[in-house]
């Protein structure tokens, strides 16, 4: 399981626009580099990132090899209700990781 780092405010007022920061450890090998034995290193990237808020899609990103290693993505969402925010990453070679963060909305 890849290491992830998520930053979500634990509490927010209803209707607040909150910032979410996510980071996941992944090499994001572009597939354009030549290795030590002269062969191309095969591509190994995270292709998709999805954030759902209590089951509803709030943010989606399709990544390409041009995203730096250990993809960092920060974005905003509206705090509508208490619950959980789920983050999912999917990529080459069956890579899948998910993380959840609780949020309390007053």
């Amino acid at each position: 399981m890849a290491r992830t780092l998520i930053n979500v405010p634990t509490t927010a007022k209803r209707g607040d626009v909150i910032e979410i920061k996510t980071l996941i450890s992944h090499p994001m090998e572009s597939g354009y580099r030549v290795g030590t034995n002269g062969t191309m290193i095969p591509r190994d990237i995270i292709r998709q990132f999805v954030c759902t808020y209590n089951g509803e899609d709030v943010f989606r990103a399709e990544l390409s090899p041009a995203i730096a290693a250990n993809p960092f993505i920060s974005f905003f969402t509206v705090a509508t209700e208490s619950g959980t925010i789920t983050f999912e990453w999917r990529g080459d070679n069956g890579f899948a990781a998910s993380e959840t963060a609780p949020i309390t909305v007053e």
């Binding site: 572009s30 030549v34 030590t36 989606r60 390409s64 041009a66 730096a68 993809p71 920060s74 969402t77």
Partner: protein, 152 residues
Amino acid sequence: MRPSRREFLIGSAGIGMASALPLESASATPAMLEEAIRNVIGEANLQTGKITLEVPPLVENGNTVPVTIIVDSPMSEAEHVKAIHVFNEKNPQPHVISITLGPRAGKARIATRIKLADTQRIAGIAEMSDGSFWTGEASVIVTIAACVEDVK
């Protein structure tokens, strides 16, 4: 017959050219950038404005270049940003990232870190809920390239 010095030099220059060519074709061109943008927007009219790409004007390491994408939009149910696409000019592939968002975002401001293989232009495209497309550009000078360097 031994080649003369002149023939040898001409020959070796050719080898140099030949080995440089595959490197050239490994990077996207401005034409590929235009094509990638056309694939996203189709026949729609591309207007300049509303989207801003915040990138440091000079980066030392092309392996991690912080980029912040800001779109000027109220992000209401009636008027919001549907998608944001980022493209580059000279990486092996023109596509960088495609983002889908909606009124739930509250604010169209996204930050990430990208790789840049060369000093180049990057372009952002924002698709609005009314079907219009807006574009913005940023130029970056890169001193150490990324993506295509070999593993030592």
